[in-house]
């Protein structure tokens, strides 16, 4: 710029136009002086930037993880200076800037002062690794832009606050920049909303329950909570809102007893959360009530709102139709749940999710746009998850694929296929899939395959996986994609990551992985503010480390007394902190525990003492969820035996009835992916063993309700004998085994055929005629049993498959057909193995030696409706008056 100005100056005419040389010299001097004054200012005026956030950006009050994405664009002309150091100054009365803020690639957080609302970003020096002002290729050049995702906790207010902004933004290096345009603005939201769609996989006619948990994070009460849009919008047309039975519902309980279509007293598990008078919906009937006790409603009108009164059975869900209000928030926030129901349209397959904002009736308090998890719709689906999602280079991750059979009959021979996505990181298979295949999957059941991968790459590199499952037929699931993970320099997890409201004392252990090239000399964990906080620090421990409290104290510092001995590169270390009291909440709440690590100065590249921060969170749940299993142990990995798991959901000591609990497992097959709690707050399902003849298999089942989780681990013992499993193809014939039976009626005689496979790789088995196939009607309250023995003995070799025929009334074989008891109750029955008959159920295989085994059949048997009407005999009758 200076060069050009001087050139102009020197190009002025030399003594022309009748002007004296002296005057000309004077003019030149004046012009030169003027230019000397103007040039610097012209130069500064040209160094400009803009600070913007995306339109519609909003954050939630009291959200410790609230992110404000401010984009800095260098609008200077080409050839101007690049931006190398930026300071953002927030109003500390409105925002508390967090150490958890992660700088953009090539940048670092140089300073965070939450008391002053200050956060400063610099560039990482490529040589020293320090946070410096030197150019490193990531500075913001003219025309370029970088987004700084600043994590700050927004303060509460009575309602939504529009046009929040920063107090100032300063380009500190170089210091010649001026802002063009206004400061960025965004909105602070009063409500927090999160949505969960259940189940995560369903059939083409399946019903989806959508729950939105709304929490008031504002200091004002918010009335008549609803959503925009209402109901929440679905991302795909493959599902439809159930307009007459789909809500919105503002609470729920379950019926304690059957009720008739005229009953005016409705007994339920609990009326907690229901208003003193209002309306409710059971199935498709709406009901007005005028009073309640702890366990009953007094009804004033059945069949309200144009609906028809009807009888309802015990355990049916009773939904609250009255919109709720949310009390002014304390630190924990008042929270309630809105529920809707959708149904897949019957033909379409694919993925769908739901989104909406929560709002009060005046629309002065809203939430950020909330989106649910994705629901996969199809008769055979796959879902993939990778964990942990944040790793350091060289760390292993576990990839799980959940395959679900949403169809009406069993699938056999399920095998998974997995591939990696392009993300920058390198994924190397270290093990899996485990199991390599699953023999059969009953209708409604799901199973899990898992892999272990080693992730390598530079910080910021991403990784993900894609894949599908197949079954004999062949049948194929959808192609699923996992969540995306990324490589970071350090990683850390905290355990437990979820605690129950108010639990005390409570110890947390942070497991920190050093993926850098240098040893770490200090690890500092930020804890909730002490003094006035409900979190009270008690003690800390880490073997060999010196522990001190800093800043209030709101930080626990672990220091290596030897600087570089305790935490070398590539190592994992644990740090524990115990609190004598924790927080009591009425709504699930995430509490942030940022971790800052400091490199030891050991020379070479490791001589800068760089500090790096990353976030860890603990969720405090309002509900407690526990999980248990039976039997305690001793279940074999034979592909058929199973554990029964029971999840118990409590709010304090009160059971929560009618709530949907989601289940996942790391191994084996779950009988369902979710279950609804009964009046005792309990939901039960089974985990069927995978097959293993070489090693014991461990499996961890996890139950989830909103933010509450509970896990329970079991061991399946290796099965070293021949292993005959049901392999599909269950078909009923007439008694001569020649003509397919159109239906199965009581009193008639039948023959059953099915496929069986010996999944053992080494041992054959000769089945004897006292092997049998059986089912019973005990699940319908009946006492009848059908048992057909094997017609003839035969050997199944390792890996071999045979068609077995069961039509013999006695263990001698020979066929002839077996009669279905005339008292057999009509219905559909799943012949699950019963290892302690009677009543007999499933398959019993014996070679009259030591290899006897009970196996489940994963297809159902349907007994015709004319069978098994319950008979009642009158023993005594007389008139009393």
């Amino acid at each position: 710029m200076m060069y050009n100005v001087l050139s102009v100056f020197s190009s002025l005419p030399q003594g022309g136009f009748g002007v004296s040389r002296k005057t000309l010299l004077f003019l030149k001097a004046v012009l030169f002086a003027a230019l000397m004054i103007l040039v610097p200012s012209l130069s500064y005026a040209a160094n400009t930037y803009t600070a913007t956030v995306a339109s519609g950006t909003d954050v939630t009050m009291q959200d410790a993880g609230a992110t404000i994405p401010i984009t800095i664009t260098n609008t200077s002309p080409s050839g101007s200076s690049s931006i190398r150091e930026i300071e953002f100054l927030f109003d500390p009365a409105k925002y508390s800037v967090s150490l958890s803020t992660v700088a953009p690639t090539g940048w670092c957080v140089d300073k965070v002062d939450s008391a002053d609302g200050q956060i400063v970003f610099r560039l990482i020096d490529p040589t020293s690794g320090k946070c410096e002002k030197n150019a490193n290729g990531y500075e913001i050049a003219p025309g370029a832009a970088v987004t700084f995702n600043i994590i700050a906790t927004p303060a509460t207010a009575a309602s939504d606050v529009a046009n929040d902004t920063v107090l100032g933004i300063t380009i500190k290096t170089p210091g010649s920049f001026t802002r063009s345009g206004g400061l960025p603005v965004w909105t602070r939201r009063a409500l927090e909303a999160s949505m969960t769609a259940t189940p995560s996989s369903t059939g083409t006619s399946g019903v989806i329950t959508l729950e939105m948990q709304v929490t008031n994070r504002s200091s004002g009460a918010q009335s008549t909570i609803g959503t925009t849009p209402s109901p929440p919008s679905a991302s795909s047309g493959i599902v439809s809102f159930l307009s007459s039975t789909g809500g919105p519902f503002y609470g729920s309980t379950i019926l304690a007893t059957d009720i008739t279509d005229t009953a005016l007293t409705i007994n339920v598990a609990s009326t907690s959360g229901f208003p003193a008078s209002g309306s409710m919906q059971i199935d498709s009937e709406k009901i007005l009530y005028s009073g309640l006790t702890a366990t009953s409603f007094s009804v004033t009108q059945r069949g309200y709102g144009g609906t028809t009164s009807a009888s309802h059975t015990a355990n049916a869900l009773a939904y609250d139709l009255t919109p709720f209000s949310l009390a002014a928030s304390g630190s924990s926030g008042d929270t309630k749940t809105i529920t809707w129901k959708y149904q897949a349209n019957g033909t379409g397959t694919g993925e769908v999710y739901f989104s909406a904002r929560a709002n009060n009736s005046a629309l002065t308090a809203q939430s950020r746009l909330a989106s649910s998890n994705v629901v996969v719709i199809g008769s055979f689906t796959a879902e993939i998850d990778v964990s942990p999602a944040s790793v350091v280079s060289g760390q292993q991750v576990t990839v799980t694929m959940t395959a679900t059979n949403n169809g009406g009959s069993a699938l056999v021979g399920i095998t998974p296929t997995l591939a990696v996505c392009a993300g920058g990181a390198t994924e190397t298979l270290a093990g899996g899939p485990s199991p390599s295949s699953v023999s059969s999957l009953a209708a409604g059941a799901s199973t899990v395959f898992s892999w272990t991968y080693t992730i390598t790459g530079s910080p910021g590199n991403a990784f993900c996986f894609t894949g599908s499952a197949s079954a004999s037929g062949p049948l194929y699931s959808n192609t699923a994609s996992s969540n995306s993970g990324s490589v970071s320099k350090y990683s850390g997890t905290v355990s437990p990551s979820t605690i129950v409201s108010g639990v005390a004392p409570q110890t947390f252990t942070w497991s920190v992985y050093n993926g850098g090239a240098c040893a770490l000399e200090r690890v500092e964990i930020e804890i909730p503010l002490q003094g006035g906080s409900t979190w009270n620090y008690s003690s800390a421990s880490a073997a060999g480390w010196t522990i001190s409290l800093k800043n209030g104290p709101d930080r626990v510092r672990f220091t290596d007394p030897n600087k570089s001995i305790l935490f070398p590169a590539g190592a994992t270390r644990s740090f524990s902190i115990t609190f004598s009291s924790t927080e009591t909440v009425t709504a699930d709440k995430d509490v942030s525990f940022p971790v800052t690590v400091r490199e030891a100065k050991t020379g070479g590249l490791c001589n800068s003492g760089i500090e790096t921060s990353f976030g860890t969170d603990v969720t405090v749940t309002a509900n407690s969820l526990s999980l248990s299993h039976a039997p305690a142990s001793g279940v074999y990995a034979d592909g058929s035996s199973y554990y029964t798991f029971t999840a118990t959901l409590l709010s304090g000591v009160t059971p929560l009835a009618g709530k949907t609990i989601n289940f996942t497992t790391t191994n084996g097959t779950l009988s369902a992916s979710y279950a609804v709690t009964d009046s005792n707050g309990q939901a039960t399902l089974t985990l069927t063993a995978p097959f293993s003849e070489t090693v014991d298999i461990s499996s961890t089942v996890t139950a989830t309700y909103l933010s509450s989780t509970a896990s329970d681990a079991v061991i399946f013992l290796k099965w070293t004998k021949p292993n005959i499993e049901y392999w599909g193809g269950l078909v009923a014939y007439d008694s001569t085994c020649t003509t397919l039976a159109p239906s199965i009626d009581c009193g008639a005689s039948y023959c059953f055929k099915l496929n069986a496979k010996n999944t053992s790789s080494t041992s054959s088995m000769t089945l004897q005629t006292n092997s049998y196939f059986s089912f019973n009607d005990s699940s319908a309250g009946g006492t009848s049993e059908f048992k057909a023995y094997l017609d003839s003995s035969g050997t199944i070799t390792p890996g071999g498959t045979s068609v077995l025929t069961f039509s013999s009334p006695t263990s001698s074989g020979g066929g002839g057909g077996v009669t279905v008891d005339s008292n057999f109750t009509a219905g559909s029955y799943l012949p699950t193995a019963n290892t302690s008959p009677p009543p007999a159920s499933g398959l019993y295989f014996t070679d009259n030696g030591s290899n006897a085994q009970y196996r489940s059949v994963t297809d159902t048997v349907t007994i015709a409706g004319s069978c098994g009407a319950t008979r009642v005999n009158v023993i005594e009758w007389f008139e009393l008056r």
Partner: protein, 259 residues
């Protein structure tokens, strides 16, 4: 003796010119009286007939209530329907209503090994709006011996020879056969209570003891009833007491049923 001639007769007729009026009045009076009496008889008969009709309707209402309850108990799945015990309260049937209690029915038949026998049974009062509360016991025997029946509000089987008098809450010591006791439990729900039916009489007398009471805690569609006797358990059976109401008429029916 004075004889009456035709002349006298004519003369007399002239002297009794108002006699016919009197006779008519008398006759009419008699007719009215007879009519009133007849009408009275007719009215009473009608009232009796109407009362009988209403009473029969009340009986039919009670029977219909029993049939409805059995229909409910028979529904599939039996496992959840056989344990239904909500009963009915003011359920509309025809021109009347029915109240119905669904109870557990137990046959504790036996023979007196001594001069007494005790049978304990468990009842659970559920925390529902209208829990079943009736205990109804019948004792029958086939001999001329006279048995008596007592009800205690505790398990007194251990002191059956001489139970604590403080626990005696009802007794039936008539000359009738059967003896019956009907007792209403008043304890607040939830409550799990144990009572004892005690039979006294001549040793060796065989008897039928039928105990109907609110469900024991283990009541189900399986064969596991009989608490607190312990295994082997009896079949879980049902006793139904239905009160039909039509106008002022009340008819009550008992039925014991098994699956």
């Amino acid at each position: 003796m004075k004889s009456f001639s035709l002349k006298d007769a004519v003369k007399n007729r002239k002297n009794s010119a108002g006699a016919s009026v009197t006779a008519v009045i008398v006759i009419l009076g008699l007719i009215v009286i007879m009519g009133v009496v007849f009408a009275s008889f007719l009215s009473t008969g009608l009232e009796q007939s109407l009362a009988e009709v209403t009473s029969m309707r009340a009986l039919y209402a009670a029977e219909a209530g029993i049939e409805a309850a059995i229909g409910h108990l028979k529904q599939t799945p039996v496992s959840s329907n056989w344990v239904w015990n909500a009963g009915y309260s003011g359920k509309s049937i025809g021109s009347g209503t029915v109240d119905l209690e669904v109870l557990e029915y137990e046959m504790r038949d036996g023979a007196l090994a001594a001069a007494y026998a005790c049978e304990a049974f468990e009842s659970q009062i559920d925390p529902v709006a209208i829990p079943p509360r009736t205990v109804f016991i019948t004792l029958l025997w086939g001999t001329t011996a006279d048995l008596t029946l007592e009800l205690y509000n505790a398990d007194v089987t251990g002191s059956c020879a001489s139970p604590p008098g403080a626990n005696l809450i009802a007794s039936s010591a008539t000359t009738n056969n059967p003896e019956t006791i009907r007792y209403r439990i008043t304890d607040a729900p939830p409550a799990t209570l144990t009572y004892t039916a005690r039979v006294t009489g001549t040793a060796g007398t065989a008897y039928s003891l039928r105990i109907t009471h609110p469900d024991e805690s283990s009541f189900s569609s399986a064969n596991q009833c009989g608490q607190p006797d312990g295994p082997p358990f009896d079949e879980c059976m049902r006793g139904l007491i239905a009160l039909g109401k039509v106008g002022a008429a009340r008819r009550e029916v008992f039925m014991g049923v098994e699956r």
